[in-house]
Amino acid sequence: MNPFRKIMEKPWDPSAEESAMALAIGPGTQYAGQRLMLHIFLVIVSVVFLLMFATFITHSQFPGFQPLAGEPWSPFANTTALWLNTLWLALSSLAMHVALIRLRHDAATQALWAMLLAAFLAAAFVLAQFSLWRTVSGMGYALHGNPANSYFYLLTAVHALHLLGGLFVLVRAIWLLWRGAETARMQTSLSLSTTYWHYLLVLWALVFFLLTRSPETYRAIAVFCGLG
């Protein structure tokens, strides 16, 4: 039944075609429930970041806002460190994908190694982000120095917290697979984790993009969004 017919159903009329077809619709599966929950959760996380992005762009139009990029002496005038961190996360995401494919082919041992690699690379990303904090802080850009600095620490910290939450789930999945858990069950778990990993990679790309723009780009985004 297509969505339009679903909402146009006349539930009071027992002779309607939709009523006759209704019995065919029953409860979904556990996997469908978990997947739906993950998707809604990702929408919630997106709302959190969208709101922070919106306030960031609004702040960028206030006097005194000093972006972290745009000038030769700015911390993100050189983005090599950020690209390197991005590489760790992208490789982690790739490893997750490989793990899922191997598990679908019943190659549990290979999947386990790929998952371990993904976890290691994700942990490396978090540590590298922490190192980036120290570098930026060492350059005199403290958390409370300017709203632009505050947003850098806030956005990266919230992103890292979500990754750490994902790592917790992944480590649990590795442990279960190590102990010989049923492959079908692990496929479900790994499929959801992989979606989450890819999502966090895209989210990081957006954070990266936003933090490294020039004042002119912020102005253009603000005007485009009606915030300027």
């Binding site: 679903k6 909402i7 159903e9 006349k10 539930p11 009071w12 027992p14 939709e18 009523s19 209704a22 019995l23 065919a24 619709i25 029953g26 409860p27 979904g28 599966t29 556990q30 996997y31 469908a32 429930g33 739906l36 929950m37 809604i40 959760f41 929408v43 919630i44 709302v47 959190v48 709101l51 922070m52 306030t55 609004t58 702040h59 206030f62 006097p63 005194g64 806002f65 958390l143 409370h144 300017n146 709203p147 505050s150 806030l154 919230v158 079908a184 496929q187 479900t188």
Partner: protein, 590 residues
């Protein structure tokens, strides 16, 4: 990959085996619902007592030594926050949502029972953290429930050190709890409906809870983001919301922050919050009205769409709370327009409730009385909302008692009317006993008339210009003596109204043991929750087989049917039809 359907899950997975597993760390949605409800009602009583203190000061200024300007502001803040978030949201979604969703969709439990259990315990911790603020140095925050910076975290505001930290921490924990619960409610409704239960066959209660849960999941992040950013301003010295300013003669280190940005974030959550509370109430009152008027709900499909459209539009009206904040005037025009537009589906619902009652076989029992009481108070609060939704009327009325009267009528009294209607309606299902009808009717009349005695005069005080949130009016020349007398009278009525609630509490407890046995489906209702093999429903709800749904939830007084009502799980073969000649005889008679 093979997947197990929810319907076939062995429900013994979390079958309780001990007292602790059954009543404390329970994963049964019904026990969790009761836990949510008890905590919410308890914290609601605390908020009610706080409002009594405020009324004592307003009615009889400077009579009570324990109420000073600081404590007055603290009582006001905690009263507002508890009532809106910790009572109404938690009771409507955590309490009723938990109890009714699995039963009404015909499943054994929530899709994620463990997460559901975590949700209630996180909620409990959030309440404890909030109440702990009464015992820290400086007491709870007195910044007003809107927590506007910069004053919230500046010296001079009560609780600016510890109180505000605990408030923000408590809100963050509450949001985590709500998210865990909300994900469960939405997923269960979308994924675990039994055979035959299409979306458009769901009772309106479920539509209200579903839409409100979706809204909560999307709106609470705004509060979370603002709470985190404010906490950083307070603890780490950032300037998200704090502008450059001088406080008590000292130039502070803040610079570059925007207090107005906080207001936008807060009301982006705050206005949908009104409907997060209202929509479940709309749904529940629809079902109570239909059941006790023995009529199908008028315009079911229109009602569903109205709920969904109100939910969507409620994200586009937030800045009507900010007309006097100094924002762009063009914004004011936009938000006044959207506010007027949202009145259309809302009014449509009121017409449909009234038309449901039209020529119904109305049983004037306690649930029905409260439901009708809701229609009155909601129309009243809605109309005063039209005043405040217009910029030009709002500006002189902003921050007066007119605003207090409006939001208490529309969000407080009318929602509480539905809560009482719902408790009187579903108590027999939860406990297996009926409540004492005499006490219930007494409770209704005293509550209904009492609420009007308290809040109707407040409109008049607002027109006089009596400001809200003031500890004392002093010798204000523009206020006549009658305003002070009226304030004293409101206090007396408010205290009476509070004491009357003892009747309700006594009835709840007394009826647990002494109420008449409810038996199976005492109201003759059609929806699935009344069709369980056991009353109250046992663990797993449905015994060996899940129900199969054959019809919508409003088959009352069906033309041609002998039965007064046709339950949703009754197949067509079991419907007894009137003989054709009887049918035509009835028609010719009418």
């Amino acid at each position: 990959m093979t997947h197990i359907p929810f319907a076939d899950q062995p429900h013994e997975d979390h079958h309780p085996t001990s007292f602790v597993a059954k009543y404390v760390w329970s994963q049964d949605h019904k026990v969790i619902a009761v836990q949510y409800s008890i905590i919410a009602i308890f914290v609601g009583v605390v908020a009610l007592v706080l409002s009594a203190f405020m009324r004592l000061q307003l009615g009889f200024p400077d009579t009570f030594s324990f109420i000073n300007p600081n404590s007055y502001l603290q009582f006001m803040t905690l009263h507002g926050m508890i009532m809106v978030v910790y009572l109404l949201t938690a009771l409507l979604l955590g309490g009723f949502g938990n109890y009714l969703i699995p039963l009404m969709v015909g499943t054994r439990d929530m899709v994620f029972p463990y997460l559901n259990m975590l949700s209630v315990w996180f909620y409990f911790v959030s309440v404890l953290v909030l109440l702990a603020s009464f015992f820290v140095p400086g007491g709870p925050t007195g910044a007003g429930w809107t927590l506007y910076p910069p004053q919230t975290i500046l010296p001079g505001t009560p609780g600016h050190e510890w109180g505000i930290i605990l408030m923000l921490a408590s809100l963050a924990i509450f949001i985590v709890a709500f998210t865990m619960g909300g994900l469960n409610y939405v997923t269960t409704i979308l994924q675990a409906r039994t055979h035959g239960m299409t979306l458009m066959r769901m009772p309106l209660t479920l539509w209200g809870i579903f839409t409100a849960s979706m809204m909560g999941l999307l709106a609470f992040p705004a509060l979370l983001v603002s709470a985190v950013m404010m906490a950083l301003d307070l603890l780490a010295g950032t300037s998200f919301f704090m502008p450059k300013l001088v406080s008590l003669g000292d130039s502070l280190d803040y610079s570059g922050g925007s207090p107005l940005l906080f207001q936008h974030l807060f009301w982006f959550f705050g206005h949908p919050e009104v409907y997060i509370v209202a929509l479940p109430a709309f749904g529940m009152v629809s079902d109570v009205l239909a059941t006790h008027a023995r009529k199908n709900i008028f315009g079911y499909r229109m009602m569903v769409w109205a709920i969904v459209i109100i939910g969507g539009l409620s994200f586009l009206v937030w800045a009507h709370h900010m007309y006097v904040s100094g924002m762009n005037l063009a914004f004011g025009f936009f938000f006044a327009t959207t506010t007027l537009i949202i009145a259309v589906p809302t009014a449509l619902k009121v017409y449909n409730w009234t038309l449901t009652l039209w020529q119904g076989n109305i049983r004037l029992n306690s649930p029905m009385l409260f439901a009708i009481g809701f229609v009155f108070t909601f129309i009243h609060g809605g109309l005063s909302g039209l005043f405040l939704g217009n910029v030009i009327v709002d500006v002189p009325l902003a921050d007066t008692f007119f605003v207090v009267a409006h939001f208490h009528m529309v969000m407080g009294v009318s929602t509480v009317m539905v809560l009482f209607a719902a408790i009187y309606h579903w108590y027999p299902l939860v406990t297996g006993r009926l409540l004492h009808e005499g006490m219930a009717k007494l409770h209704f009349w005293l509550t209904f008339l009492g609420a009007y005695a308290v809040f109707l005069p407040m409109h008049y005080l607002g027109f006089l210009g009596v400001p809200r949130r003031y500890f004392a009016m002093g010798d204000t020349l523009f206020l006549p003596q009658s305003a002070h007398t009226l304030n004293a009278a409101i206090t007396v009525f408010a205290l009476v109204l509070m004491v009357v609630q003892v009747v309700f509490i006594v009835n709840l407890i007394w009826s647990l043991r002494h109420g008449p046995k409810a038996g199976h489906n005492p109201w003759g209702a059609t929806s699935l929750e009344w069709q369980t093999p056991d009353v109250p429903p046992a663990h797993g709800n449905w015994g060996a087989r899940l129900p199969v749904v054959h019809r919508w939830a409003y088959d009352y007084s069906v033309p041609g049917a002998v039965q007064d009502f046709l339950p949703q799980n009754m197949p067509d073969e079991e419907v007894e039809r009137l003989a054709p000649d009887t049918d035509s005889a009835v028609e010719s008679k009418s």
